[in-house]
Symmetry: D2
Subunit: 287 residues, 4 copies
Amino acid sequence: MAGMKNTAVLLLDCPDRKGIVAAVTNCLLKHDANILHADQHQDSEVGLFFMRVEWDLDSCRLNLEQFERELMPIASSFQMRWKLLGSRKKTRAAIFVSKELHCLADLLQRHASGELECEVPLVISNHPVAEKLARFHGLEFHLMPVTPATKAETEARELELLQRNHIDLVVLARYMQVLSPAFVARFPERIINVHHSFLPAFSGAKPYHQAFARGVKLIGATSHYVTDELDEGPIIEQDVMRITHRDGIEDLTQKGRDLEKVALSRAMRLHIGHRILVYGKKTVIFD
Amino acid sequence: MAGMKNTAVLLLDCPDRKGIVAAVTNCLLKHDANILHADQHQDSEVGLFFMRVEWDLDSCRLNLEQFERELMPIASSFQMRWKLLGSRKKTRAAIFVSKELHCLADLLQRHASGELECEVPLVISNHPVAEKLARFHGLEFHLMPVTPATKAETEARELELLQRNHIDLVVLARYMQVLSPAFVARFPERIINVHHSFLPAFSGAKPYHQAFARGVKLIGATSHYVTDELDEGPIIEQDVMRITHRDGIEDLTQKGRDLEKVALSRAMRLHIGHRILVYGKKTVIFD
Amino acid sequence: MAGMKNTAVLLLDCPDRKGIVAAVTNCLLKHDANILHADQHQDSEVGLFFMRVEWDLDSCRLNLEQFERELMPIASSFQMRWKLLGSRKKTRAAIFVSKELHCLADLLQRHASGELECEVPLVISNHPVAEKLARFHGLEFHLMPVTPATKAETEARELELLQRNHIDLVVLARYMQVLSPAFVARFPERIINVHHSFLPAFSGAKPYHQAFARGVKLIGATSHYVTDELDEGPIIEQDVMRITHRDGIEDLTQKGRDLEKVALSRAMRLHIGHRILVYGKKTVIFD
Amino acid sequence: MAGMKNTAVLLLDCPDRKGIVAAVTNCLLKHDANILHADQHQDSEVGLFFMRVEWDLDSCRLNLEQFERELMPIASSFQMRWKLLGSRKKTRAAIFVSKELHCLADLLQRHASGELECEVPLVISNHPVAEKLARFHGLEFHLMPVTPATKAETEARELELLQRNHIDLVVLARYMQVLSPAFVARFPERIINVHHSFLPAFSGAKPYHQAFARGVKLIGATSHYVTDELDEGPIIEQDVMRITHRDGIEDLTQKGRDLEKVALSRAMRLHIGHRILVYGKKTVIFD
């Protein structure tokens, strides 16, 4: 996983039938590709086949575009939904945040240490508190206050900013505004949120308060792709922690932060590593 | 925790104010009681104080009844809800089961090995499959088929059977019938159920199917006291396990069994050790 | 994973080079095999490639023996270590146990419920306590007391018994005797033990006492293949549980039993599902 | 746990006998102290009693010094080792770090967010890389390179610096130098280290390499007080995470960082909350 690698990732799903693996691996073999990782999955209930293959581009005769041409007829004959991605072209992520900075600080530290192989050109927030942290890490910071009256206009400015910066992933690191369907539609399966509960339990507002009131013995956090239905998008990662009757709401809030950081950073890492396939409300995670 | 011990347990809750611990410990000290365990809890939000004290009866001048008389004025002056229990008088539990036997087998093996210090005189089931296992462990087995038409009559017979056997705890070890409010009212905070999900997620029927459809990354099990509201009783114990997209419904069902066994047996162990205080929908667990 | 399935499993490892997946999948495709699961792994440090493929035999033109012949030249050309196994031929396991019965009871209940798809013809013990349980499940029970003087002779009788029963897996379910190198040599990678610690911590005798003395905050259990070096065999599965200063040695022992049951039963399930590849001191687990 | 609270914490251990709780609580009651938390523990094996009591000082007639005088005769008569601490006097911690900054960044972010109620006046490192981060958080940074030849002299300068800054806790946040016995002797039970393994497994150098070589299925991290014996000090907190054969050494290193952060920050939080009692090689954690 060294930073200088030059690999291609093929992510695909298609109706399950015989010969898919053979077709793909024969094509790669024919062009002398050295497969580094390959993983498959079948969901027999819905009759779908899923695959992720990663190979070394440096030792190949073909480049990414040439592989794309070679794979096209195979993809077509198997009715694949597919993506071919090169490790050299890094995902460009924008991070949205509100007042709580633990997830942002965690992501930026991981990015600085090389753990998250992507570019993070900018941070957007509806509050000014994150500015100092963003600038410490050398990132642009854009203050975008949101009120009911200005929300549509603000989102338009945000979208413009994202487009101008060629952003292909939006990470909501405890961003407490609900994005409009129009915004979400512009980044399908490209907005990752972290919700501070073990979804589907305690969706909606104030999940730690809900958890405290219900008297659960574990709290959780969930990272998921954002869809139009609040807290209903495909789940990428979840984590939980044991609590006891001794933990008040403040303790839940504080302990939960560790879950949020891990759930969100893992989701971001999986996304930028092209390790997630979405189908319906579910995800296949090739880790 | 050897079986031959002779201890007293005082479980209490009351409005929180100064002097509760001092009053209780002075009373015990005055009568030369050797405290083995003491634990307190305060819920500052609702202003309640909770306490569990266990002391050795063999080395005391007073017996359980005499301690009860000594503690009565203290309990009264602090407006305590309280229970005083002797380890010599063991809980008598009846286990209800349907067709899936893993929880029953697990509980009976734990009981046989001495891990659950209670008496289990009988097993009740709406199906005949558990009979062989119950009899192997030397327990009475009562087949009590339930149909909508006969449910009230069956419950009456069950209640009569429980009363005749001096049962003070009912354990639902994957018993798939809903008990009537009238039945539940006869055993307040004395019926323990295991639900095969991480409540409040996936309450109701077929939780593993619900979990599979939602695409969660962890499955859970929850043991709780039964109240009139289905799957809404005070939670005693919860446990979870990581799953992946590779796990089908059968895998969830099979993996979940290990969670159910642990969640249910721990709840039973906590209950018979007089380690649970219920208030509202929540529990204090003194473990 | 229904019991009546008729599948073939190919398990292999070989020096990593191009074309392995293509060669295997082409061979299967040529004979119209419907691949149900395929999984690969590369250990780049040692330059090894590992693969497990499972396909449906019912819908194939070839039977297991015919596939063996077809695969032989491929295996040879890639210098594979390989096994081809049919789901119809179930593993025959013997369980060894001493005085503590929780693992035995757990395995036999799982077997009875259909969770462990193998045959368990007999239980062997150096103590008589397990007999009743073995017979309840309809198994042969053989009492084989071990003393230093009789050990060699007893092992000879055990080996003869295993051979006569066509046993191909020995499961040590808290069997407290050390098997001789000669015995172990007869069942290479076919004896599974559970050690009641998180190996390599607390190998050897009385691990819960060691854990208590060291003041660890988690206890564990480890299932592994038995080799000549005590507690040094390839690890199959490990699990841990949080403990506190309140837990005495008895509590560790009791809580740890749940870990032992899970670690051992998972290992047995993985083995009989042909999901484990051993190399050196390590295992690849295709689950 | 709001920052402005004014409470006293009594931490004690003594030979176990009757009347300890009564004596302490009577003393507090007499002076009208409102107990906020009380927790006890008995280790029957060694005959020791442990207690932590926290009470509100604002609503009391006595201040901390006066309570100290009142408690002295009780402590004396029960042969207590004891500490009385006021929440207003915050622990002053120095953080030592080498080249890996994830633990330092994590601690400083937690401190900035108010999660760690202590003062952190300075960061000491044998490498310059942490300087920028320390200064961003407004802390002094002291570069203290260590070579075999200069080690004694460097430690002397460090000790002088710690003394001048009234430091009462040293946190080794992945500091890769071994402190000399003379240094350790100056901060008994006041130096917290994080070791990147589940101790006692893989003590010493390169624990992730050791874990990879042994093929364990879980990795861990351990925070502990530093003593003269390397990696043998009393354990405060441990955490683990599941890994698979797919994880190379780099993956272990990266995943393990999350464990290290959690284990170290929890230990620091417990220490500054006066929630740890050490006896022999073990800790009692009142959380």
